[in-house]
């Protein structure tokens, strides 16, 4: 398969995973990720992928098997959502601490209780402290592109950290969109075969992986891991640039012209800016266009890279904006929306600070419509309401 086609974003991810040629895939089914791994199983069954697929007994088993496979020196992939990601929680930290470049797709879904299979970001946002690189995709094309790029980034010797590409469950995973699938040989050029840089399980070179880290050494080891995640922002930019140079967009409006940590949409002279992640940005962009037609000076800042948090990119993009509305599909109970807190904190030391407001939208798959966006815009423009608002 190569060239332009129309497919579900889930299947676009499966195509990307096929093209990166992992050695081991270990996954456990959970709605709405299932289409991704089912298609991968089909590829393997039809010899389109030379890969070992471990049908594990739980997501904990999945991420653990990935840890073992990656430690053995093989490119490894898994995918999950919500409860599955929560179940993996312990091992997410371990995989990052061991610096294993595992690739994962998260089909964003709300967390129990109450149990809910529809989209919001609570699952991956709750995992933001585990030391994984996080990307959020708006379109099927971005899902495909980011899945290829994430392996290149994770496996870079300056990074050596696991990464997750997040796409909205159902709202994006099950959405049919035009996608351009790259020719395999081009992907091979962009993403060479995986060669472990720092750890391997091989009787030819016996290494000890995962020792106990006493207080005498833990802090230094942690520092080096955290620094690698912080510094990965530069490697991510390099890879984004190389990808954008090698593969310009083939389908209009399917992805940014040049990939970057953020995407600016009509921000140049904006007085009011929305900030959001994921597929809701598509809805917001249409609303921005409508408002612009009425003469409103409004734009959207879409975050693509969330971890490491792209501080400079955000400050640059929001320069000159007077009011910022952060729209997010997650909440830190007892606190604020997480993205809001991080953005507001970013501006604390800046000479010029916009007003920043926090809006909680779309939890548990609640549809986010033009009405919601318009309501938020009006509230911000006319200074209605105060503090954190839930937009039901």
């Amino acid at each position: 398969m190569e060239g332009k086609t129309i497919m579900e974003a889930s299947h676009a991810v499966s195509e990307a995973v096929k093209s990166v040629k992992p050695g081991v895939v270990a996954a456990y089914p959970i709605t709405p990720q299932t289409h991704i791994v089912e298609r991968i199983s089909e590829f393997i069954a039809n010899s389109e992928m030379d890969c070992e697929y471990i049908r594990v007994e739980s997501e904990f088993g999945a991420i653990s098997a990935c840890l073992g496979a990656s430690a053995t020196g093989v490119r490894t992939y898994t995918s999950t959502a919500a409860q599955g990601l929560a179940l993996m929680h312990e091992v997410l930290f371990i995989a990052s601490g061991m610096r294993l470049p595992i690739g994962m797709t998260v089909a964003n879904r709300a967390l129990s209780a109450p149990i809910n299979i529809w989209n919001d970001h609570q699952d991956s946002i709750s995992a933001r402290d585990c030391g994984w690189i996080q990307f959020y995709a708006e379109t099927a094309q971005e899902c495909y592109d980011l899945t290829i790029m994430q392996f290149r980034i994770s496996e870079d010797k300056r990074v050596l950290l696991p990464s997750m590409v997040c796409l909205d469950g159902f709202t994006l995973t099950h959405l049919y969109e035009p996608v351009y699938i790259l020719p395999q040989r081009k992907v091979d050029e962009f993403l060479p075969e995986y060669k472990p840089y720092h750890s391997i399980l091989d009787p030819e070179q016996p290494l000890t992986l995962g020792p106990i880290g006493f207080p005498s050494h833990y802090m230094e080891l942690r520092y080096s891991q955290v620094k690698a995640l912080d510094d990965s922002i530069n490697v991510i930019k390099e890879v984004f640039d190389e990808f954008s140079d090698s593969f310009p967009p083939e389908i209009e409006n399917s992805r940014p012209e040049r990939y970057y940590h953020v995407e600016d949409y009509k921000l140049e002279d904006a007085e009011i800016a929305f900030v959001a992640m994921g597929s809701v940005c598509g809805t917001i962009k249409v609303m921005v266009d409508r408002l612009r037609k009425k003469g409103e000076r409004v734009g959207l800042l879409k975050l693509i890279t969330y971890r490491p948090f792209p501080k400079n990119a955000i400050i640059d993009s929001l320069r000159g904006v007077k009011k910022v509305a952060v729209l997010e599909k997650a909440i830190s109970p007892g606190g604020n929306g997480p993205v809001f807190d991080e953005i507001r904190s970013l501006f604390y030391d800046e000479m010029e600070r916009p007003e920043i407001r926090d809006f909680i939208i779309g939890l548990g798959g609640r549809d986010v419509t033009f009405m919601h966006i318009k309501k938020i815009y009006d509230m911000v423009k006319n200074d209605k309401g105060e503090g954190l608002e839930w937009i039901f």
């Binding site: 270990a26 088993g61 490894t76 050494h217």
Partner: protein, 304 residues
């Protein structure tokens, strides 16, 4: 070169931080000798992991990986699959895990790995409690043993439940070789581990390893006690090969030594003797031990 049939080469170095008289440390020496150079060791959190890898030092001379407490079998599944992908299926994958990781928190993942049929060997060094965290009870702790979470007292006999029969559970998964072993019979243990490694598919050996700290025993008697566990029938040595039982030792009810000889040597059973002798409990243990052996021997008789 071999001594008593055991290869001379050591893959687990002295200088490790285990207690004096540690049965598990000896177990690791035996296991790694059986495994040999062409092996990868997967280890969950536990005594051995902690005493063997005090960063920046390691006791190991083999490739070794530790992830978390409950997922050694899952990690091993990933390792075997990766090796298959790399065309290196001749490398032995051995899990060396404590009973806590195996019987309790890792049980589901162990079952999954066995059900999927990965080619690896799982050796449980069974010291019958969560020893590294301070002697708390596990599913492998025997009836009436006093642990810090099942302490003996006015209202308590110690652990109320009989030891979980993990060996038969794993045999039921269709494993071609499961066995019990004891450091008290170290050559037998070595041979069984070797056989488990050489048998294709998932295999399991439950290796009794005395913990003088947790069992409250004389550090010089770790081997003697592990032998007595077998000779009294408390921990009989048997194998299930392609679904059929073989009982190694003891071979008959008549040759059983009284369980009391075994219990008396251990502080964790002290409350069965002092301040008063608990006849009921000792008899209960004796009867149950005889029944278990009888059942095993019947299986052999009937070719089961």
């Amino acid at each position: 070169m071999a001594i008593l049939g055991l290869p001379e080469e050591e893959y687990f170095s002295y200088g490790h931080r285990a207690c004096a008289g540690c049965g598990a440390a000896l177990a690791v020496r035996l296991i790694t000798k059986a495994a040999g150079r062409n092996s990868i060791i997967v280890e969950p959190t536990g005594c051995i992991e902690v005493v063997s890898t005090p960063y920046p030092e390691t006791a190991w001379k083999l490739p070794w990986v530790h992830g978390a407490f409950e997922n050694a079998a899952s990690i091993a599944s990933g390792v075997t699959s990766a090796l298959k992908h790399l065309g290196k299926e001749d490398v032995n994958v051995i899990v060396i895990a404590g009973d806590g990781a195996t019987y309790d928190i890792g049980f589901g993942h162990l079952s999954g790995a066995f059900e999927r049929g990965h080619n690896f060997t799982y050796i449980c060094y069974d010291n019958e409690a969560y020893m590294n965290t301070g002697i708390q009870r596990s599913g492998a702790t025997p009836y009436a043993a006093s642990t810090t979470t099942t302490p003996s007292g006015k209202e308590s006999i110690g652990k109320q439940e009989w030891k979980k029969d993990l060996v038969h559970i794993l045999a039921a998964h269709g494993s071609r070789y499961v066995a019990t072993a004891s450091i008290g019979y170290q050559i037998d243990a070595y041979k069984k581990i070797k056989r488990a490694i050489e048998t294709k598919g998932p295999t399991f050996v439950n290796l009794l390893a005395t913990c003088p700290t947790g069992w409250r025993t004389d550090i010089s008697k770790s081997i003697e006690i592990a032998k007595l566990a077998v000779d009294t029938g408390v921990f009989p040595l048997y194998e299930i090969v392609d679904g059929r039982h073989i009982v190694n030792r003891p071979k008959s009810i008549e040759e059983l030594k009284p369980v009391e000889e075994y219990l008396r040597m251990q502080g964790r059973y002290r409350h069965l003797f002092r301040p008063e002798r608990n006849e009921e409990a000792i008899n209960f243990i004796q009867q149950r031990v005889k029944e278990n052996l009888r059942s095993l021997l019947e299986h052999v008789e009937k070719g089961l």
